[in-house]
């Protein structure tokens, strides 16, 4: 009995807390609308009706009504029964940008209006329930397309189609510190891509974009520290896999450990030509993405061909991988430590308005989903593995909407084992 009483007390306390928190959300707009209504109507009795034309949950309407009635009361307007001569018809409406609360104040044949804008509410996301769960954390947003980015020496180096931006962490967020032109002489392509990786000496970065190669180093003297960035025309192959991929050391062969894999890039068609160096003993078709994944006899190179076929170089043979029908063009390897240890994180195959990421494992020649899809709320335009191999980064182009000033968002994606 005591336990029941205790539960009842806790439940009512929780309910009261929830009601109070919910009420506070609407107090301010209710007060603002009530003030406008009272200025038109003056003190007296009125009949109040509320219509919900918005996405506000119907559960919230009693709370909003209470807030409005209290706010009106504070101005001397008493909400009473339908017999009142005046009527206030409140419509909770909304447009693409904001909520709009409209009061039609009806006195006899005359109707006057009061209108206030209310900030849009927050969007709730559903939690994943699968074995491996992917999580995303927005890192920064920008107006320009991001081709690749790297956090190094307390800076973010961001590769854009025409410039390299350097961000520094300040006031709780990444803010642009400087930018350097890449200086392409050839016109840009439609679907530009780029890569960035830590320099072999660990003191700077190297980057490639179509027809250009860049390098940067941190100049420590004289203070303050500044980045020195140099770009030059180059058709050299792009670094496809980091020099020593983290997480697959135990399975890495001496050859791949010593020499990172590079691939030649077709600068006018935005894909890799299929020629890789050093030679891996097989002829690759032109491809968009590549990733090293651990296999029993050493790492295998997984590629996504321009024809849509996903193939794995395993023991010097290219083998087609099945189960990739839902794959998009971008993938990256992630050493989560869950399940078999390494997963391939793949963008979705949809027409990119609401893209997603999903983890797959490839134990043999079939890709098997290892996580639920992680909604990315936009089109994934680039995907790469973090230098430590334990997370990935995704660039998401957000659909245009009035609230999104910066259409490009760089997200840090991690995995947790369930």
């Amino acid at each position: 009995m005591k336990l029941l009483c205790l539960l009842a007390v806790v439940a009512s306390a929780l309910f009261a807390q929830q009601a109070s928190a919910s009420s506070s959300q609407w107090d301010q707009p209710a007060a603002a609308l009530a003030e406008q209504i009272a200025a038109i109507l003056g003190p007296g009795q009125t009949h109040l009706t509320i219509r919900n034309n918005s996405k506000i949950s119907t559960d919230e309407i009693p709370t909003i009504r209470r807030a409005l009635e209290e706010a009106l009361k504070a101005h001397g307007v008493q909400a009473s029964g339908a017999e009142s001569a005046n009527t206030i018809r409140i419509t909770l409406s909304e447009n693409l940008r904001e909520r709009l609360w409209v009061a039609e104040i009806i006195e006899g044949n005359e109707t006057r209006l009061a209108m206030i804008s209310v900030e849009p509410g927050t969007v709730h996301t559903e939690a994943s329930t699968s074995e491996i769960t992917l999580h995303k954390q927005p890192v920064f947003t920008t107006t320009e397309p991001v081709l690749a980015a790297l956090e190094i020496a307390e800076s973010y180096i961001v590769i854009e189609p025409e410039e390299i931006a350097i961000l520094a962490h300040s006031a709780g967020r990444w803010q642009e510190q400087s930018r350097v032109g890449i200086g392409q002489k050839k016109p840009l392509t439609r679907d530009p891509r780029g890569i960035i990786a830590p320099a072999p000496d660990g003191q700077g970065f190297i980057a490639s974009v179509a027809g250009m190669a860049c390098s940067g180093s941190l100049q420590q003297a004289p203070p303050p520290e500044t980045w020195s960035v140099h770009c030059h025309e180059s058709d050299d192959p792009w670094l496809l896999t980091p020099p020593q991929p983290a997480g697959i050391d135990s399975a890495t062969t001496e050859t791949s450990r010593a020499k990172p894999i590079r691939a030649f890039y077709n600068a006018s068609r935005d894909h890799f030509t299929g020629v890789v160096t050093p030679s891996l003993g097989a002829d690759f078709p032109p491809f968009y993405s590549a990733a090293l994944i651990p296999r029993a006899d050493g790492p295998g190179l997984l590629i996504n061909g321009t024809d849509g076929r996903v193939q794995l170089l395993d023991t010097s043979q290219l083998k087609s991988i099945t189960g990739t029908r839902d794959w998009g063009s971008d993938f990256a390897a992630l050493n989560s430590g869950c399940a078999t240890g390494t997963q391939i994180i793949v963008s979705g195959s949809g027409e990119a308005l609401a893209d997603s990421l999903r983890a797959y494992e490839i134990p043999a020649q079939e890709a098997i989903p290892a996580s639920a899809s992680l909604a990315m709320d936009g089109a994934v335009t680039a995907l790469w593995t973090a230098p430590d191999g334990k997370s990935i980064f995704a660039v998401v182009r957000k659909p245009a909407s009035p609230g999104h000033a910066d259409p490009y968002e760089v997200d840090h994606v991690t995995a947790s084992c369930n």
């Binding site: 439609r190 996903v310 063009s329 195959s349 027409e351 009035p402």
Partner: protein, 456 residues
């Protein structure tokens, strides 16, 4: 029994085949470069406004982003001074026209002057260094949005143009190749400042009837064809792959305030006598939205304040028992618009008006014109201004707040010179060769961003 076994066997075999195909189905790829997109349209792709090819060949100083705001195009930045009476647009460096002529401020000024001459909304236009400077006697708060529209695209004036299509040398993603026998050929601009488009070429067949367009789509001779709003349901029934915009144009009656309808009560009576439901259900096959407001609810949230109900009693009352002189009506556009106009004539006769379709005589006074007014922006302020402009009501919209915009809308609608009827979508049917095709904010297909699936 043996027949059942055979059927079952066939079902299993088909299932296995489908499963096998699914297993080996390739993953989706990034868009390919190459190939030719074949487009068919009912009108002229080079006409202004709305010609499909114009935005492919020509760029504006600004462009409309999907959220309806103006964003940099040939101008990289702009600022207004003197309370929007003076605007300065700085041009993007390094841009060339298709014939290699560099874009500079003098060329841009010459182009804009050639477009509108004395009828431009600004008072004067000057080239100042790498900038184009607009000055105006009245404020132009929405000039960046205005310059993104079809009317102010920058073309190279004078020499170098294709004689048959003046103003056809631009800076856009595609360049004019030819326009003959109703076929407009465009080739990818490899040096475009926006990046080379994915298709190598676009072939636009003009003046094709909707019937022929659909036929060509079905037999694989066309990739993108038009679907009028009133035929959207039929297109769905035929299982065409449809790309439809949200409502992007306003079907409205513009009402002359002279002649038979000079009396505002008669105009109000006409507004109350129209049966929008019949237009929506019968003529436009339940596509789009019924509206009595100029801006759709998505943009304002207040459109419910305007009643779309027909009220014949009130219409008769407003007419005051007087039989007005004959009222003439005309419609811009194709067969659905003509049918809608005929339906409105019947509505007006119900309300006691002697309404008739205009016979087309040059001297005939037109009282009512049924039009489709494009909604050029997703921003309520510039969208409202664009509707006024298209309707021939040059009313500047200086208000931004919902309450302010409502006031402007209410004042115009209370004059009953513009009667909103329906919001209509724009739609296209596409073949399986086309991917990543999107519709722009004005409902036009963004062909430069689309690609051809079987391109090499």
């Amino acid at each position: 029994m043996s027949q059942q076994v055979a059927i079952r066997f066939r079902q299993v075999a088909i299932s296995c085949l489908i499963a096998a195909l699914a297993l080996h189905a390739p993953a989706r790829t990034r868009p390919h470069y190459g190939g030719t997109l074949r487009v068919e349209v009912e009108g002229d792709p080079w006409q202004r406004p709305g010609g499909l090819a114009r935005h492919l060949v020509l760029d504006g100083l600004t462009a409309m982003s999907p959220d309806g705001t103006a964003h940099p195009a040939l101008a990289v930045e702009w600022k207004s001074e003197n309370e929007d009476h003076r605007w300065q647009f700085r041009l993007r460096p390094g841009v060339h026209f298709h014939d290699g002529t560099p874009l500079n401020s003098s060329v841009a000024v010459a182009s804009l002057t050639a477009i509108c001459g004395a009828a431009c909304p600004w008072t004067a236009l000057h080239a100042v260094g790498s900038s184009v400077v607009f000055t105006s006697d009245s404020p132009l708060p929405n000039l960046p949005q205005l310059l993104a529209g079809d009317n102010y695209l920058i073309a190279l004036t004078g020499a170098g143009n294709i004689a048959a299509t003046p103003g056809s040398v631009g800076t856009g993603t595609f360049q004019f190749t030819s326009y003959s026998n109703g076929v407009l050929m465009l080739a990818a601009n490899d040096n475009c400042w926006q990046g080379r488009p994915f298709p190598d070429a676009i072939e636009i067949h003009a003046h094709r009837s909707i019937h022929d367009q659909w036929l060509d789509l079905n037999v694989g001779r066309a990739d993108i064809v038009e679907v009028p709003a009133e035929q959207l349901r039929q297109a769905h029934e035929q299982r065409l792959t449809i790309l439809a915009s949200p409502p992007d144009s306003l079907l409205a009656l513009t009402v002359s305030d002279s002649g038979a309808l000079a009396n505002p009560n008669l105009r109000a009576s006409i507004a109350l006598s129209i049966d929008r439901g019949a237009l929506f259900n019968v003529i436009f096959q339940k596509q789009g939205e019924i509206t009595a407001s100029l801006l759709p609810a998505e943009l304002t949230g207040y459109s419910f304040l305007f009643s779309a109900d027909r009220d014949l009693n009130k219409a008769h009352e407003l007419r005051g028992g007087v039989t007005p002189p004959p009222v003439t009506i005309t419609a811009d556009g194709g067969s659905a618009m003509q049918l809608a106009a005929q339906r409105i004539v019947l509505n007006l006769r119900d309300a006691g008006f002697n309404a008739q379709i205009a016979t087309g005589g040059l001297s005939q006074h037109i009282d009512l014109t049924l039009r489709r007014l494009p909604l050029e922006s997703n921003q309520p302020q510039s969208a409202l201004e664009s509707i006024f402009r298209s309707a021939g009501l040059p009313i500047p919209v200086l208000e931004q707040s919902p309450a302010g915009l409502y006031k402007v809308e209410r004042e115009v609608l209370d004059s009953h010179m513009l009667i909103p009827l329906l919001y209509l979508p724009r739609a296209y049917a596409v073949s399986s060769r086309v991917r990543d095709l999107r519709l722009g904010p004005d409902g036009t297909p963004q062909l430069a961003g689309a690609s051809v699936e079987d391109a090499p």
